[in-house]
């Protein structure tokens, strides 16, 4: 017997007979969930990986003060490397009465040394490679800036003190440093125009870059030379660095979505266990006949393995296709956040999908299938013999083992995998206990003779009902959390911001402009505000020991050390700041100037304690002081705040710019264009626009996660249907008996409807209850928001659960009351 061929035949026959549809559906949903995430991550990741040098536009980039780069450029030239320079900074462009924050990049001939610049001559026009850089007096802008400023190609906009003609649209600058769309659209000008804009002032936030490229050996030689140089104040970026930041974001998103996808697999796994058990029970007689006709245990084992191989191939294939479709849906939901053109879908996620299918079958189906090997041939004569079905311990161990292994693979981190595994298991057990409790209550009520005869199904099969409630409830809960609770939390957060919280920030204010600008803001614009000094420094030592980014875990702490801090000095604590350890300087008897006040969050991240001595490097010089107090800052007040503050007298000599924030009512924004015109080097941030953008990014991301949660709900519905199928025979018998005893079709229909509504309602009750409590807990304990428990969530949950289960289950149970009692009694096995 050729097992593979015979298994295929039997599988197709079983499928035709409706035996495997739910098992296949459960597989398809799991594979679709996992492969869609793999596809999304792969394509977005592909857009960056392998193109690391393009992201940098060079093989090496040196960032530092303008003059410092000269000797490094000279060495590169000596080695025969190509070089070019670019300058990047945030600024504001002006067109008529509209202003917009942009990221300016001023480039020299030769840019980019690696990768390419793609241009369009108008919206929708074909993309073409740029030959050279923007000519003087012209500006190349990101397409979305056109709609933001209501402009067209060929028109003019002002940047600082100079007007530029928009000559091209920047379709792609791989070296924007990030594949994701940033808050500020990019504009590119010729470096030779920079001076005329008047934008660059001392201590402005400017990145001077020296770009280098050459043959690998030359780059290595340069690197070797670089190691012997004093790199104080200079940062060397390598292609891997530029990829790292983007890679980390993609990796984190991939892990999160990947683990969410596994939730679908866990729920679908329950459906698989149920359907496989029923399938195996119905195979016992066939296997006994085959054994009787001469099939060995090995034959049966291989037959079962081949059946699963084929099932995985087909269901996995459909799942992979569904995943491809889902991924396209996710990309559509993320439109605007990702580059327009992504690499074509590759084959790797398809393999991931198939492997998931086989992993699922390995964990949820194979042990049961292999148990069929032990069916004795004597069963053909003695019906009481069933062989040795696979034990419950083996079944659960295999299922949990595979889930844990998949989580480990998705999380690429044992601890995270174990945490998520425990959390999922805990949630399932909690929901299970709650569902079992509810079912118990109803059973008790019925036993007391409360006349709830309609609920027989729920009452007579408490375990199945509990599983149905948990499976549907889990999906509903995820959806409720993502839709209602998320919206609630964002609203609660927005409500906490006072109506007159500052909505504009001005940065890059030169010390010389301070008195005049302060006067202008107070008198002409009509806002009462103060300007604060801001000094940029890098934390280099704590208690005399060097601080290196590698000493901190990746994430916020490392990011803080890699970037420059904003330091300031002031006499009084700022509004909304509360000293939680130590004393503010005025309260100290002696008032030495070398003191630092550190914000609590930063202190926690970097492990800074009272009395620690911090050293910052500011513009090539260092400044040290001891920490004399730690402050709590209410950041969402949108007042100007700093991580590290010193008393006056410590940092006045260092180059500083000034910063301020103020509230401008919406009907007063007409003063802004004039403000930008008068102070071209000052950068204006519109908080409202930034918040709206952030919110829309959160919304877009959340919709993708909602899509994953919908799949979990679909898996829950498959569990519901699987449970209905498992109990089908029992139900048919009950129904036939009841009909024979005189129950009308209508009565039976009503009975089933009540059972379904009750299961859905209970699932919704649990989902809504848990979502309400979880939302409340997250709001109060994590985000410190005022957010009352929302009982309405329970209402939503009950309604949604009842509706979903009634609709899905109604289709699954139609057959029970459509057939006559005679047929049911005559052919109980062959439906």
């Amino acid at each position: 017997m050729k097992a593979w061929r015979y298994a295929l035949k039997l599988l197709l026959r079983d499928y035709r007979a409706g035996e495997l549809r739910l098992l296949a559906a459960a597989l398809v949903v799991s594979v679709a969930a996992v492969s869609s995430v793999a596809w999304l991550a792969d394509r977005v990741g592909e857009a960056t990986s392998g193109r690391a040098a393009e992201l940098l536009a060079a093989d090496r980039v040196l960032e530092g003060a303008e003059s410092l780069a000269d000797r490094f450029a000279a060495k590169a030239a000596e080695l025969g490397m190509q070089t070019t320079r670019s300058v990047g900074f945030p600024s504001v462009v002006l067109s008529g009465d509209r202003t917009q924050l942009v990221a300016v990049k001023a480039v020299e001939t030769g840019y980019p040394l690696r990768g390419e610049l793609l241009l369009q001559s108008g919206l929708g026009a074909p993309e073409r490679r740029a030959e050279g850089i923007p000519p003087r007096g012209e500006i190349w802008i990101e397409p979305r800036l056109l709609s933001l400023l209501d402009l067209e190609v060929g028109e003019t906009l002002s940047l600082g003190a100079m007007d530029f003609r928009i000559s091209e649209l920047l379709a792609l600058d791989a070296a924007r440093g990030n594949v994701f769309v940033s808050l500020a659209p990019q504009v590119m000008i010729n470096r030779a125009d920079l001076a005329a804009t008047d934008l660059i002032q001392p201590a402005s936030r400017v990145r001077y870059n020296l770009l280098l490229a050459g043959a690998p050996a030359t780059v290595d030689a340069y690197e070797a030379w670089l190691e012997r140089q004093d790199l104080t104040g200079i940062e060397v970026e390598r292609p891997t660095d530029s990829q790292r930041g983007v890679g980390e974001v993609i990796e984190r998103a991939r892990r999160f979505l990947g683990l969410s996808a596994l939730l679908t697999l866990v729920v679908a796994g329950v459906a698989m266990l149920m359907t496989v058990r029923r399938y195996a029970a119905r195979q016992v007689d066939r296997v006994a006949v085959m054994r009787c006709l001469g099939a060995t245990q090995r034959d049966i084992g291989w037959l079962m393995v081949w059946k699963l191989i084929w099932l995985g191939l087909f269901a996995g294939g459909i799942g992979v296709l569904a995943g491809l479709g889902l991924q396209a849906g996710m990309l559509a939901l993320l439109s605007g956040l990702l580059p327009e053109t992504l690499p074509a879908p590759g084959w790797r996620p398809a393999v991931v999908g198939w492997l998931t299918a086989y992993a699922g079958l390995l964990g949820f189906a194979l042990p049961t299938f292999l148990g069929l090997r032990h069916v004795p041939p004597l069963r053909v004569l003695r019906r009481d013999l069933t062989g040795r079905p696979t034990g419950a311990v083996t079944l659960y161990a295999a299922a949990l083992g595979v889930v844990l292994a998949l989580m480990w693979w998705q999380a690429s981190d044992v601890r995270l995998a174990l945490t998520v595994f425990a959390a999922v298991l805990g949630t399932l057990l909690l929901l299970g206990a709650a569902a079992a409790g509810l079912v118990w209550l109803i059973r008790r009520r019925q036993r007391r003779g409360a006349g709830l005869l309609q609920f027989t199904g729920l009452v007579r099969r408490p375990v199945t009902s509990t599983i149905q409630i948990v499976a549907v409830g889990l999906g509903l809960m995820a959806l409720l959390l993502l839709t209602v609770v998320r919206t609630d939390l964002l609203t609660a957060w927005r409500d906490r911001i006072p109506d007159d919280a500052p909505n504009y920030f001005l940065i890059n204010i030169q010390p010389s402009e301070v008195p005049e600008l302060e006067g202008y803001l107070n008198d002409t614009v009509g806002v009462d505000t103060r300007l604060y000094p801001m000094i940029r420094g890098r934390l280099v030592e704590i208690n005399g020991e060097d601080v290196a980014p590698e000493d901190f875990p990746p994430g916020r702490a490392r990011g803080l050390v890699e970037r420059e801090f904003n330091l300031s000095f002031r006499e009084q604590p700022a509004e909304g700041n509360r000293v939680i350890q130590g004393d503010w300087w005025r309260e100290l008897p002696a008032q030495p100037p070398d003191q630092f006040s550190v914000e609590q969050g930063v202190a926690d991240e970097l492990g800074i304690a009272m009395g620690d001595r911090l050293t910052f490097r500011v513009a090539g010089r260092t400044v040290s002081a001891g920490v004399t107090n730690i402050r709590e800052v209410q950041w969402d007040s949108f007042n100007v705040n700093f991580f590290v503050v010193s008393p006056p007298g410590l940092m006045e000599d260092f180059p500083a710019t000034y910063i301020t924030s103020f509230y401008l009512p919406p009907d007063r924004t007409d003063v802004l264009p004039e403000l930008v015109r008068r102070y071209p080097s000052v950068t204006l941030f519109d908080v409202g626009t930034i918040l709206r953008t952030v919110r829309s990014i959160i919304d877009q991301g959340a919709r993708v996660v909602e899509l994953m949660a919908s799949l979990t709900l679909v898996a829950g519905i498959i569990v519901l249907l699987a449970a209905l199928q498992v109990t089908a025979e029992e139900r048919r018998f009950e129904t036939a008996l009841m009909r024979a005893l005189g129950a009308t079709k209508q009565r039976i229909r009503r009975m089933i409807r009540w059972e379904l509504l009750l299961i859905g309602g209970l699932a919704g009750l649990l989902a809504g209850g848990v979502a309400a409590v979880a939302g409340h807990a997250v709001a109060v304990y994590l985000f410190d928001l005022e957010y009352a428990l929302r009982p309405v969530l329970v209402g939503y949950g009950v309604l949604a659960g009842a509706a979903v289960v009634w609709l899905a289950g109604g289709v699954g149970t139609l057959r029970y009351y459509r057939v006559s009692p005679m047929r049911l009694l005559r052919a109980p096995e062959n439906g």
Partner: protein, 221 residues
């Protein structure tokens, strides 16, 4: 040739060990048709299971063509059965998800036939079901289902055929036609037949009738 020596079968029962039968000796020649007659619970189906190698006795030996079944493990016995032993059961034991044709193809596939479809079609034509190839068991009457089972039993041209109450689930008229068919095919193929029944009239159609009662096997007069 099928030989049983000193066959015994004991079970653990609620009130201690129960001996179904002991020390049975039996020899069935090639081509012979033997009926085992007995009341319900007399152990005749158990005996059939032991002779067919579906089960092992608690004592004694069974030889099929010189091979000791009782010394083989279940898989070795299965390999020996494949293609050489046929069965007809009271409950038909057809696979509900397979058509009549596919049911008959099953033993051919297990014994590695080159043309399972062609042979199965022939077998179904021989039992008068040439028009019912693509019907599923629930779409066939009881008699038709048993004809499929007989087609399946003979399709591999087995040396040995076991029939367990083949008419037990059929009405009298249908039962008689099925038995005619069974014996006709048996003669045509020269198969050794072991038939278990509680119906003396059916048993008399065999070459030899054995009675099983009170744990002993006796030749009927």
């Amino acid at each position: 040739m099928l030989v049983a020596r000193g066959l015994g079968m004991r079970f653990a029962g609620p009130a201690g060990e129960i001996s179904l039968f002991q020390n049975l000796d039996l020899t069935i020649a090639d081509g012979e048709a033997v009926a085992v007659l007995g009341a319900s619970g007399s152990g005749k189906s158990t005996l059939l299971g032991l002779l067919a190698g579906l089960d092992v006795p608690t004592e004694g030996q069974v030889f099929f063509n010189g091979n000791e079944l009782t010394a083989m493990d279940e898989d070795q016995r299965a390999r020996l059965r494949a293609g050489r032993v046929g069965f007809v059961f009271q409950a038909f034991h057809l696979m509900p998800g397979l058509t009549a044709l596919e049911n008959v193809m099953l033993p051919l596939e297990l014994s590695g036939s080159r043309d399972p479809r062609g042979e199965a079609v022939q077998a179904l034509e021989a039992v008068g079901l040439g028009e019912r190839l693509t019907h599923y068991p629930p779409q066939l009457s009881g008699g038709e289902q048993q004809r499929v089972a007989i087609g399946r039993a003979f399709v591999t041209r087995p040396r040995l055929l076991f029939a367990d109450e083949p008419t037990g689930n059929l009405d009298q008229g249908t039962g008689e036609r099925i038995i005619d068919l069974l014996f006709q095919l048996n003669r045509e193929h020269g198969t050794t037949l072991v038939l278990v029944t509680h119906d003396p009239a059916l048993a008399r159609r065999c070459d030899r009738v054995l009675h099983i009662a009170d744990g002993a096997l006796e030749a009927a007069a």
